[in-house]
């Protein structure tokens, strides 16, 4: 653990004089380990060039580095590299599907989206529905913040052409049984898009085993630079999609009047791609793949259990968990409300102890509306978190309650 913490330069400094950082906002952005930073610095100082355009040495190094990054992501997801598209982020990846695949849907078709979704996996479908005259089907959640599996077979009927659900909720932490949802979707003739933004940082994935058709993730949540994300899709699906953006790299041939396009993945990577961010993402995938993720998850869930117990002890019946209370099928993240305190006020007071939690609706207003609250506070863990982080968080919450409820 100490060795893992040492890999993160940001943990080495105090956040204010004498106040060490207790970073529990990993769900918003993952911290960058040194090997990723080193890979970026090496790239910018020894291999910086545009890709696929020039034959000089720097351009070759850059092109190789970019190709290697795609290979690293493909290995992390267990898919062929040519099915991996680099995007600007998870949000851009979902919007690409909503536009380019969405334009293949016909008025009257339906898209099924869960109440649990991050705005990134809801608003693009609203926009698509408005643009193409489609129906949005609402997949409900259970009282403890999980996708309601019992409701799916009835709601996912023949009109539904695409189901969009998160692999794990960024608010409740609930993990979706993707293979089961995939079976239901496919039985109805629908495709399944899975939002892996929260799941991907917790270790390598086996997308073929999940059985979904599209998968998206964001680099920064894995500790890579901002500005890169991934869309994975089955090749024939990608190959049937028109490009969303036009420009360099995505063409086969251009005349003034018209152009022909390259095959995927290039077709969807118009312009200079996020080369260095992708190189960082490749390094991040290798870094994560080298961790023992079963052990890391057990460690993080043990801390999650301590946090939930501590919250109940301190806040008593003012505590409201936004999500399941148990530790099964969940990520190591906890969202909660303490009655009479506002999440932002709580987080502001925690900050003075170096404890970084996030407060607000976490880009999931629908979910919070179902719970009848405007927002919540969230602690989200990474493998490097330790018992000290949890103790500091609990002490800060006790403190905040004194300030805000006195």
């Amino acid at each position: 653990m100490a060795r893992l913490r040492a890999a993160y330069p940001i943990l080495a400094q105090d956040i204010a004089p004498g106040v060490p950082l207790h970073y529990l906002d990993n769900g918003a952005t993952g911290q960058m380990p040194q090997p990723v930073l080193d890979a970026i610095i090496a790239h910018e100082t020894t291999a910086r060039a545009n890709v696929k355009r020039s034959v000089h040495t720097l351009a070759e190094r850059a092109t190789n580095a970019y190709d290697d990054a795609r290979d690293a992501v493909a290995a992390y997801l267990k898919v062929p590299a040519r099915e991996v598209i680099f995007t600007a982020g998870c949000t851009a990846a979902i919007n690409l599907v909503a536009r380019s695949h969405g334009d293949l849907l016909a008025p009257g078709d339906a898209i099924a989206v869960s109440e649990l979704e991050h705005h990134a996996n809801l608003v693009p479908w609203q926009m698509l529905a408005a643009r193409r005259g489609l129906t949005l089907v609402r997949l409900p959640m259970t009282a403890d913040g999980r996708l309601d599996r019992a409701a799916l077979p009835r709601l996912i009927d023949k009109r539904v052409k695409l189901v969009a659900v998160t692999h794990a909720s960024n608010v409740t932490g609930a993990i979706t049984p993707v293979a089961e949802v995939a079976a239901i979707a496919h039985a109805a003739g629908a495709l399944l898009l899975v939002d892996g933004a929260q799941m991907a940082p917790h270790g390598p994935l086996d997308l073929p085993a999940l059985g979904c058709d599209f998968y998206v993730l964001s680099g920064h949540k894995l500790g890579a630079p901002n500005g890169v994300g991934v869309l994975w899709g089955r090749y024939p699906l990608l190959d049937a999609m028109a490009p969303l953006m036009g420009g360099g790299e995505m063409i086969r041939s251009v005349t003034f009047e018209t152009s022909t396009y390259a095959r995927p993945p290039q077709r969807f990577e118009a312009g200079t791609p996020p080369i260095a961010p992708a190189v960082g993402l490749g390094a991040a995938c290798r870094f994560h793949a080298a961790l023992d993720h079963d052990a890391a998850m057990a460690h993080q869930l043990a801390l999650t259990g301590r946090l939930i117990e501590g919250l109940a002890r301190i806040a008593g019946n003012r505590l409201r968990l936004i999500g399941p209370a148990g530790l099964d099928d969940r990520l190591p993240l906890v969202s909660f409300v303490i009655e009479g305190t506002h999440p932002h006020d709580l987080c502001q007071i925690l900050d003075r102890r170096g404890v970084a939690l996030r407060g607000g609706h976490h880009c999931a207003q629908v979910l919070h509306a179902v719970y009848g609250v405007a927002g919540s506070a969230r602690a989200s863990l990474a493998p490097f978190n330790d018992a000290g982080d949890i103790e500091a968080c609990l002490a800060g919450i006790a403190d905040a309650m004194k300030v805000l409820l006195s």
């Binding site: 506002h342 932002h344 502001q348 405007a374 927002g375 805000l404």
Partner: protein, 144 residues
């Protein structure tokens, strides 16, 4: 327990409910969300001679935003929508520059001197100004 950011006065002001509620005869109403936390502030206003005569607020928000709504309500009578806009702009400038007073002529707003280092919270202070301005504009439109 006292505190730089959340002084006792802030909590006391936040729980001042003199102007909470609604106006059945409101000439204008507006509700605005803070898109980053889902907080919500609504205002009802009535005008006399184009100026705010009475008002009530509906606030579901953090302590800072509640306190700001209460202070603003207490100082709003007799003002126009443009006045409110101007007050908000000047308070924003004061927050950015960490000025004293934060808002010239309105020492009560010095309640917020503790947050000048926390830009993310400026929106919490300003949301009531935006909502009251919008409500007043609506009332102005209705009477013009």
């Amino acid at each position: 327990m006292s505190d730089e950011l959340y002084p006792r006065d802030m909590l006391r002001t936040a729980s001042d409910i003199r102007f909470a509620g609604s106006l059945p005869d409101a000439g204008g109403h507006a509700t605005l969300d803070n898109p980053f936390c889902g907080d919500r502030v609504g205002f009802d206003v009535t005008l006399a001679d184009g100026r705010i005569k009475s008002l009530r607020h509906q606030v579901k928000a953090c302590v800072i935003c509640q306190a700001s709504a209460a202070l603003l309500s207490a100082e709003a009578e007799g003002r126009t929508a443009d006045d409110i806009l101007d007050l908000g702009d000047r308070l924003m400038a004061g927050l950015k520059q960490d000025a004293r007073p934060l808002l010239a002529g309105h020492p009560a707003f010095d309640l917020f001197t503790g947050i000048t280092r926390h830009r993310a919270r400026f929106a919490c202070v300003l949301l009531p100004f935006e909502a009251l301005e919008a409500a007043t504009r609506e009332a102005e439109k209705a009477t013009s």
